[in-house]
C-alpha cells in the first residue's frame, strides 16, 4: 500500500495556543478517501484530532474541509487524487473557510451556515388551509427545483464563496440556492415577497459576485450560483422588482443597450443602471444622481488617463447588422415562456449521439 503525507491544521481554542500544522504519514489503498486517511491517523496516532463525519458516502454532508486549498467533502475525495494535486508533497487539510473554527477541522456551522439558511425562511408558505391529505403537485412543475433540492447542506460552497470572504453578511450560496427551492415551488404563495426581500437586501442576490466558486466545489452539482441567477431572472423578468441595489437597473440597462447597439456602450451602462435602466431617470432621480456623483472621480480618472474619450462617451456605433440582433431579441422576448436548457436535468450527453443500449436489452 502506498504511503501518503497528510498536513493537518490543528487548533484547540481551550488550550490558549495558536493554530499549528501537524504532519502525519498514512498507509492506505489509493482508492480510499482523504477522510479514511484522517480517521486512520486518528485511530493509530492521535485520537484528539477533531473531524466531523458520519456516512462516509457523500450523503450526510458532515465532513466538509479544505483539501490543498479547495473546499471539498473529505469522504468524496480520493487520497491518491489529493496527493497528485499536493504542491509540496503533503496533502494539506484545513477547516472550511468563512466559518469560525471550533476545533481542528470542525467549524461552527450554526454560527454561519444554518443562520443564513434560517434567514431565507426555509419552509413552504402556502395560501389558505392545508389540504386534508398531502399537497398534490404536477410532477413536471417540480423539475425546475430538483437541482436545488439535491443540496445536502454540507457548507462546502459557503466555505468557497468569494463574496462571503469580503462581506460576511452576504446571505451566501447555500441559503440562496435553498431560497430558489421555495421560489420555484408551485405550492408556495409568497414568491413575490421572497424575491423582493432577497433583491432589496444589500447582502442578497445582487451581492453574488458571479465567480463560479460554489459551482466548482459543490459535491452534488447544485450550482448555487445558477440558482441565484434564476432568482434574479424571476425577480426582474417575471415580477419587475425594482430593487435598491441597481440589480434590476443593471440587467435592464445591459440587455437594452445590446439590443440597441449590438455591443456594450459602457458609458451608458453606469447611469442607466442607476436609473432602473433609463437614461432620463438616471439624471433626474435623486438616488441615481447621488451615485453618479460618487462615481465621478473614477470617470474623471478614466478621462484623464486617455482610455475614455469624451467622444466615446457620447457616441457608440451600432453594429452593421444590428437589425439581426434586434430581430433575435424580438423573436425570443416576445414569447410567453422562457426556454431554459438545464443540463443538470436533461443530462450532458446528446440523446441521439449515445449508443442505443436500451434497444439491445
Amino acid at each position: 500500500m502506498p504511503d501518503y503525507a497528510l498536513k493537518i491544521r490543528r487548533y484547540d481554542p481551550e488550550s490558549g495556543e495558536a493554530a499549528y500544522w501537524q504532519d502525519f504519514d498514512v498507509e492506505l489503498d489509493p482508492e480510499r478517501s482523504v477522510l479514511d486517511g484522517i480517521l486512520k491517523v486518528k485511530d493509530d496516532e492521535d485520537a484528539s484530532i477533531g473531524i466531523r463525519c458520519s456516512c462516509r458516502a457523500a450523503i450526510c454532508g458532515s465532513c466538509g474541509v479544505k483539501i490543498n486549498g479547495q473546499s471539498k467533502l473529505a469522504c468524496n475525495t480520493r487520497i491518491s487524487d489529493a496527493a497528485a494535486r499536493a504542491s509540496n508533497g503533503a496533502i494539506v487539510v484545513e477547516p472550511m473557510g468563512n466559518m469560525p473554527v471550533l476545533k481542528d477541522l470542525i467549524v461552527d456551522m450554526d454560527a454561519v451556515h444554518w443562520k443564513k439558511v434560517q434567514r431565507i425562511v426555509p419552509w413552504l408558505l402556502p395560501e389558505g388551509d392545508p389540504p386534508e391529505r398531502e399537497y398534490i403537485v404536477d410532477a413536471e412543475a417540480m423539475i425546475d427545483v430538483t437541482q436545488s433540492m439535491a443540496c445536502i447542506q454540507c457548507g462546502v460552497c459557503v466555505s468557497a464563496c468569494l463574496s462571503l470572504e469580503v462581506d460576511p453578511e452576504f446571505i451566501g450560496p447555500a441559503a440562496l440556492a435553498k431560497a430558489y427551492r421555495f421560489v420555484g415551488d408551485p405550492r408556495d404563495a409568497h414568491t413575490k415577497e421572497r424575491l423582493e426581500d432577497l433583491a432589496d437586501d444589500p447582502h442578497g442576490i445582487y451581492d453574488c459576485t458571479h465567480c463560479f466558486a460554489c459551482i466548482e466545489v459543490c459535491p452534488k452539482d447544485v450550482a448555487p450560483m445558477s440558482q441565484i441567477m434564476r432568482l434574479r431572472r424571476h425577480a426582474t423578468a417575471d415580477y419587475g422588482i425594482k430593487d435598491r441595489n441597481n440589480g434590476y437597473g443593471h440587467e435592464k440597462a445591459f440587455t437594452d443597450i445590446v439590443e440597441k447597439y449590438g455591443t456594450l456602450h459602457e458609458a451608458q451602462l453606469l447611469p442607466r443602471s442607476y436609473g432602473q435602466g433609463s437614461l432620463v431617470r438616471s439624471q433626474t432621480d435623486p438616488s441615481s444622481l447621488k451615485q453618479l456623483a460618487e462615481a465621478f472621480p473614477t470617470v474623471l480618472n478614466g478621462l484623464r488617463s486617455g482610455k475614455v474619450s469624451p467622444l466615446k462617451v457620447l457616441r457608440h456605433p451600432k453594429l452593421p447588422d444590428q437589425d439581426q440582433v434586434r430581430r433575435i431579441y424580438h423573436a425570443i422576448e416576445s414569447k410567453d415562456e422562457r426556454l431554459e436548457l438545464n443540463l443538470y436535468i436533461v443530462g450532458e450527453g446528446d440523446v441521439e449521439a449515445e449508443p442505443d443500449e436500451e434497444g439491445e436489452r
Binding site: F170, N246, G247, G249, T263, R338
Partner: protein, 300 residues
Amino acid sequence: MKVAYWPGCVSRGFTPELHGSMALVAPKLDIELVELDRANCCGAGVIAEHNQELVDTLNARTFAMAQKVDGAAGMMNICSTCQGAQSECQQRLDADSAYREHVNGHLEPEGLGYELDGGWWNKNFLWLLIEEIGLETVRERVVRPLEGLRVAPFYGCYIVRPTSRLGYDRFPERDRYLEQLIEVLGGTPIDYAGKHRCCGFPVITMAKETSLRQAGRHLADAIDAEADCMVTPCPLCHLNLDLQQPDAAKYVERDLGLPVLHLPQLVGLALGLEPRELGMNKHVVGTREVQRKVSELAAA
C-alpha cells in the same frame, strides 16, 4: 496562424490599449487576426441572467460567423469574461442537438448556423499562446527578456471556473498558464492569494463595497508579495483593478498603486515593442516604474 478574432466590447471601449496592443503583438507571433466586426456582445453573464435562449442565440451567431472565416484554425478572444460566457453557451449548444437546431432556427434568415464540430475551438489569447503557438515558439521570439520584473498573475474567474466546462479535463494546466508564460517571457511570476479569485467587477454597480474590497485585497496581497505589476487576460478585471484602483484603496484602507498590464502588453514588451505603442500611458495607475525597469533592460 489565421484566427477568427473576437475582440469583445470593452477592448474597443474603455480599454482601447488592449485592442491596440493585441493588434501589434499578433504579427510578431504570426497570428493573422480576422476581426469579427459584425459580431455581438457575449452577454458577459448578464444577458444569461436575463434570458438563456437569447444569450445562447447571440453567441451562436458569433460562433457561426467565426466558423465561416475561410482558413481560420479557430476563434480567439482577448477577454476571460467573453471566454466564460461563450463557453457556457457552447456547452449547452453542443450538448443537445434539438436545442442547437432550435437556436439555429433564429439565425436562419441570415443563412447562419452554428455547426457542431468537435475540432472547432474558441480560445482566449492565453490558451492560444500555450496550446496552439507553444511556449517554445514564444521563447524564440523574445528579444527583451523581462529579467527582474516581478509579475502577479490574475486570471479572471471566467477562465478558471467551472473546470468541467472550460476544458480542464483536456488541458489541466490552464490555471497555471500565466505563470508559465511569465517565466518564458523572462519575468518572475509571484505567488499570492488572489490569482484565481474574483476581481469584483460583476457587482461594481450593485454591491460596490463587496466589489472593491475584493479588488483592493488582491492588489494589496500582490504588493505585499513585492510585485512590480499585475497581468490579466481580462479587460473587465482590468477595469476593477486599474480604473477603480484609487477607489478600491479606500475600501481596504491602505495605499495601493500597482500597475496592471493587459496580457498582450506584457507579451509585447518581451517581444520588443515599446510601452507607449502598447498604450501603457493609458492606464489610471501609472506604469512608469515598469517602463523604467523595461528601458533599463533594453539598455543592458
